[in-house]
Symmetry: C2
Subunit: 424 residues, 2 copies
Amino acid sequence: MPIIFLPQNEIPKHYLNILPRLPFALDPPLDPQTKQPIGPDKLARLFPEELIKQEMSSEPFIAIPEEVRKLYALFRPTPLIRAKRLEEYLKTPAKIYYKYEGFSPTGSHKTNTAIAQAYYNAKEGVKRLVTETGAGQWGSALSFACNLFKLDCQVYMVSSSFEQKPYRRILMEMFNGKVVASPSRQTNFGKKLLKQDPHHPGSLGIAISEALEDMLTDPHSKYALGSVLNHVLLHQTVIGLEAKKQMEIAGDYPDVVIGCHGGGSNFAGIALPFLADKLEGEGKAKNLRTVASEPKACPSLTQGDFRYDFGDTAQMTPLMKMKTLGSDFIPPKLHAGGLRYHGAAPITSALVEHKLTEAVAYDAKETLQTGVLFAQLQGIVPAPESTFAIKAAFDEAERCRKEKSAETILFNLSGHGHFEVRPV
Amino acid sequence: MPIIFLPQNEIPKHYLNILPRLPFALDPPLDPQTKQPIGPDKLARLFPEELIKQEMSSEPFIAIPEEVRKLYALFRPTPLIRAKRLEEYLKTPAKIYYKYEGFSPTGSHKTNTAIAQAYYNAKEGVKRLVTETGAGQWGSALSFACNLFKLDCQVYMVSSSFEQKPYRRILMEMFNGKVVASPSRQTNFGKKLLKQDPHHPGSLGIAISEALEDMLTDPHSKYALGSVLNHVLLHQTVIGLEAKKQMEIAGDYPDVVIGCHGGGSNFAGIALPFLADKLEGEGKAKNLRTVASEPKACPSLTQGDFRYDFGDTAQMTPLMKMKTLGSDFIPPKLHAGGLRYHGAAPITSALVEHKLTEAVAYDAKETLQTGVLFAQLQGIVPAPESTFAIKAAFDEAERCRKEKSAETILFNLSGHGHFEVRPV
């Protein structure tokens, strides 16, 4: 039968840390002043200690606290679904599976790291988290998670999304998040940009700068990021770890693992646990391919340079070695707002650079059409971001049809699009 | 662990028919001209033969066609969830479970009957279905289902909902449904009402009249109803049948079963299979209570008369014996648009009349507040309609706390509210 449920005692007990498994060393983040590797002490103003440890950990697995697992049990394990109607439609000999993260409280994979981050911050006495959000998935996930731990939550939401998506804002407010359109009048950087252009559409890079500026003015606040960083990708590995068990129940193992790619966290979440098999020399993973799918309008992996760059527009973050379009790049408006980021996670950037992961880019219009077809066939309205993964899976399945190759394709359906439907 | 999944081979193979189990006879629908019981031949213009048979069947179980079960497998069995965080919050000794129908393609239980109705119509050569929708859940479910069977679908959507809920309309159009605000200029009845009031907010009764008028002008069309009728309630029993198996896995059996009540289908879906136990004299169901929860603003069960009345405003339907506020009753605007119906299902009306089911009524504002609290605690944003079931479950749990009674409460979370969030 198409849906493979996993009992709740199978919720992973550990996150999988890819760092000690990589066949190369990741270049460390640098202090922008000294250009020297940044120490844990400098990061302590931004993040709680435990997350900084995780960011640099060489442990192969990191235990998931019981309290976090208990909250994961509100929605995990998420279903793994065989897309049989899609296979029939495409007349492909390939098997297509997808992991459905839209079952989570705020409708995307973001809740996995939001709960973990809120937990560690609360445990270390932090009272308030400040963050940015593009499409709103991350902002709503963090609002939900902060509310669980009675933390205040301040969200800088990219202005163009704030206007387009009133439902997302309402959702955040339902979870007691405070939301403001970015650029805002709450920060000096925001005020400066609004002076230049009162209708500034904003960007993720700008919203990060505002969140950082806000956070630095309040000693009880820390900062939270929904993608890019090692510890965020780490938390998302619950997706792939569950999927591995579910594929085992199905009696299959993927030849191709696919995720859409903005900052990199949902792609990493599904792909890293399988890639770990390959790096550890497991026979069944010998020919495994991993594919990251991004928009042509914001093509950091396929067109960006691999170099040190800032994570934000005001150049406040440490320098990170990544595939980047430049920290001053303002991507065009895009329905898939979660993929509008100038850079990419250091881990996924390095994987692409070292040819362990393939990157593909699609036009947003064609992925949206594919998304509508997917909804009609499989009954799930995908997030605009997720349609990039679906399109890549379509293309792999078509290739299999042409090559008469009965491969197994697995993609991550990172979320539903219930809050993002709009007139086409 | 809180979520109880059921493997897909446990999707019910039969619907449970309550009719032969009732300890009283249901009064038959009457022909409005002759006031005599209406025969199957007169109904044949409206519905396919198989559904008319089901409407009057005395079989205790009715087989679910394999093709329908295969499509149910896109989303069924839906999860049964123990609301542990809610129990802790309420400090109640009661156990609270809910069946979550929001996992369905269009986010509510309506898909259960939509797929069955589209299947039987397609099988009998119908080309187009015409229907009405209040809040939009039924219209989107039927659009989805018609698209699966390549039927055209025309939806008359209550005008006030059409304005308030652009996302619902987009969803229907994504599934190739044709949607028009009711009253519309597509029917004579609609034109007449718009002449009286160009800004007429519409009602479910009016939309039914328009759908019927439209359907009668096209010999290849039939009519589909999302609640009220016996065969619709029948299809929804998959909810309760699954819940029974899931409760068995949990080692529990409910003392109270709760559903919100508009036309009656989601309430019946969860309650009838348990009520069948009671009527069959099963010991564990001896003290079972069933509770239907409705809005004070549209209180058909708690305030309506039990008499023959029309199902629509233009008085085109057969006369049905039901709890009714009068077919000319126009309920006030209500966020829970799915509960704005002047009548109630003949089955649930009779159950209340014969004191086999209790009815309670709540103010919409207090149920919405309860819904927000539920979302914060359990991580699911409920449909406005479902908040009436949640509120009734809250009250039962509070009673249990006061009485120190460790009862088991089960309610139906009929859908999510992702398309219905709006500024409070």
